[in-house]
């Protein structure tokens, strides 16, 4: 209302001047009113002092002027009295070994809840590369009105939890800064910057062969032992898998065999592999998961048909089949173990050279 009154006064002065310029020096007037004294601007008082502070300037609203430093800028004057506060530096981090993402938390800087913020992001500290975080949290050279978002709420910057900026380049340091506004003509300048870095994509993989959970070295052999006819024989030795990746969609561990079963060259015979319950089967050969764990992320999980109980086994043939995955999430310290089971029949030709070669591979979904 105060501002509105000033505008009315200015308008009246202008009107009076236009109607009778000569009389303006004596003060604008009309039939009923007369403005005895007037000036442009909001006035102020110079060089005020108190017991502790002195002001070497005019206190009050002036028409124009700007105080600035490296990080802050004050646009003084009538039109700027409703500017949003310049947001302090946001908090940007890489909390989960992201290779193409970073987390940002806006700092409101005392602005009202309906204030909206924009985030500028750069790979060279805004020397020649400036992009903006979009409303879908990707980055683009264009800052649209939809990219100004409230601190929290639907479509906002996630409040204290922040949001994840996606589509970034691996192994790159990003600098971010934020600006705020609260209605038209209130946009602040960009505040101080903060930095965080993406890392390279990662994938670690290793296998071990042991009866207990321990690290072992290649070459790896596993003897199931004597396959007593009509008896399900389980290997005492297990195959352990180490798997970690920061792939956005996690990863998977695959397994495949060389023969589709245990093959004896001497006997010219094979014990075929299949997904079945060996308890009721005449013969068979397959693998079954024993354990899964992880340090963080994931979780690591065994996948059908390898996640059965008892003597239920999954097929081991020449096709690469997923035995474990990380639940479509990045995973750290994944560790899993599986065992082999086989069963011969009374008529399975005897031989000491039944064999297969199991290959284990892993990949990430980046």
């Amino acid at each position: 209302m105060k501002s509105f009154g000033k505008i009315i006064i200015i308008f009246l002065v202008f009107l009076a001047s236009a109607v009778n310029p000569v009389r303006s020096m004596a003060g604008p007037s009309s039939i009923n009113y007369k403005l005895e004294q007037y000036s442009f601007g909001a006035g102020g008082e110079d060089s005020m002092t108190s017991g502790s502070y002195g002001l070497n300037a005019i206190l009050g609203e002036i028409e124009s002027g700007q105080l600035s430093s490296t990080n802050f800028k004050v646009n003084s004057g009538l039109n700027y009295t409703m500017m949003a506060n310049v947001p302090p530096a946001p908090v940007i981090s890489n909390p989960a070994n992201y290779y193409n993402k970073l987390k940002i938390v806006i700092n409101e800087g005392g602005n009202a809840s309906d204030t909206v913020y924009a985030v500028a992001i750069s790979t060279d500290n805004f020397v020649s590369d400036t992009k903006y975080v979009q409303d879908d949290n990707t980055v683009s050279p264009t800052l649209g009105p939809e990219d100004w978002r409230t601190y929290s709420g639907v479509g906002g910057w996630g409040g204290a939890s922040g949001v994840i900026i996606a589509g970034l380049t691996p192994n790159t340091t990003y600098t971010v800064k934020t600006a705020a506004k609260k209605g038209s003509f209130t946009e602040s300048g960009y505040g101080p910057t903060a930095q965080a870095s993406t890392i390279l994509p990662t994938l670690t993989f290793d296998i071990d062969v042991s009866a207990v959970d321990e690290e072992t070295s290649a070459p790896y052999t596993l003897n199931i032992g004597n396959l007593t006819p009509a008896t399900v024989v389980t290997s005492n030795t297990k195959i352990w898998v180490d798997f970690s990746t920061n792939a956005n969609s996690g990863g998977a561990v695959y397994v495949y065999g060389a023969n589709g079963g245990l093959v004896s060259t001497t006997a010219g015979s094979s014990i075929n592999s299949g997904s079945t319950d060996l308890t009721g089967a005449m013969t068979g050969y397959g693998i079954r998961s024993n354990s899964v764990s992880q340090t963080s992320g994931g979780p690591m999980q065994s996948v059908a048909p390898y996640n059965g109980a008892g003597n239920n086994v999954g097929i081991l043939d020449v096709n690469k089949r997923i035995i474990y995955d990380s639940s479509n999430m990045p995973i750290s310290g994944g560790r899993a173990a599986f065992e082999l089971k086989a069963k011969s029949s009374d008529t399975t030709p005897s031989a000491t050279d039944y064999s297969d070669v199991i290959t284990i591979i892993a990949s990430g979904s980046f």
Binding site: V209, P219, N226, T245, T347, S355, A362, S363
Partner: protein
Amino acid sequence: MLSIRSFLIAFYFISFLAVVLYIPLQASAAVTKVVYRPDRHSATSAPSGSVCIQTSTAGSETTLTIVFPTQFTIDTTTTNWTMDTSANNIPAGATQWASTGSGNANSANNGTKTVVFTVGDVSADTFTCMHFTAAGTNAIGNAGNDLTGSIATNIDSATSYATSVVSAGGDQISVTATVPSSFTFSLGGATAALGTLSTSAVTSATGVSATVSTNARLGWSMWVKNSTNGLYSTTATAGISAPGAFGSTYDLTSNTGYGLDVNSGSGTPTVDAAYDGTGDANFVGVLQSNFKPIATKATAGAGDSVTLRFRAKISATQAAASDYTDTVTVAAAGNF
């Protein structure tokens, strides 16, 4: 009412907005997932594996660019790089990425570790994979984790991946097992009573089964022999002779004598011709005092059996006695 000029201005303005809005829409589309799945992680292996992409980028893919980790050795002979379309070589559920070129690489550069293939279009948001193999001097280098590369197409920007190389053979396990030899043999009975023999009719004892179970890879064999004197009476000091020479079967209907008929049972083993009568007919073979084969089977079997039937018919001058006796020994063995 809008004038024609106003209408045209509005039309052009709306068209301009549509173009302006459409360009960012295109720019926002991107690769959503890439996968590099090696066939082997072993340090001694040549690079081979599946390369997959899922993208919403508008346009048509025509080339695939694979950048391998820097430690890979890339054979620059393009014909040493082959793209195949075997369905089993790509991850289950993935769409096969078509090859629209020769199947060999367009280019292979060891400096940039880059190999380019000519490929077909990828349908939007469809997980699409190809499989490649490499020959020549290609190698994936030494063991190491977090080895990075990238996958791109002519319209899809490069997206990074990571893979791992393990020590030679470190991705494989040699599995062995033993199926121990097994063999069981049994006779269904220890006696075969012929009873009172006749000069006019053939007398047959109740059949005695001989059963074999074995996992011998070449099957099994069975033999039989009898005592030196054959069916002999100590009291009468007389024996009932065979109907003929060993090697043939004889029909006791028209002959006298004593012999053995062997019938095939469970597992259908093969009966030796020297004892292969015709079922329940009156044919017999000649027993010998040394082992003669009576049956064989070429494969392992469980509960394979034959039936031994002793038959006799006497002549009118055969000395009477009640103690005609013979001892027949049956033996079997697996052919491991």
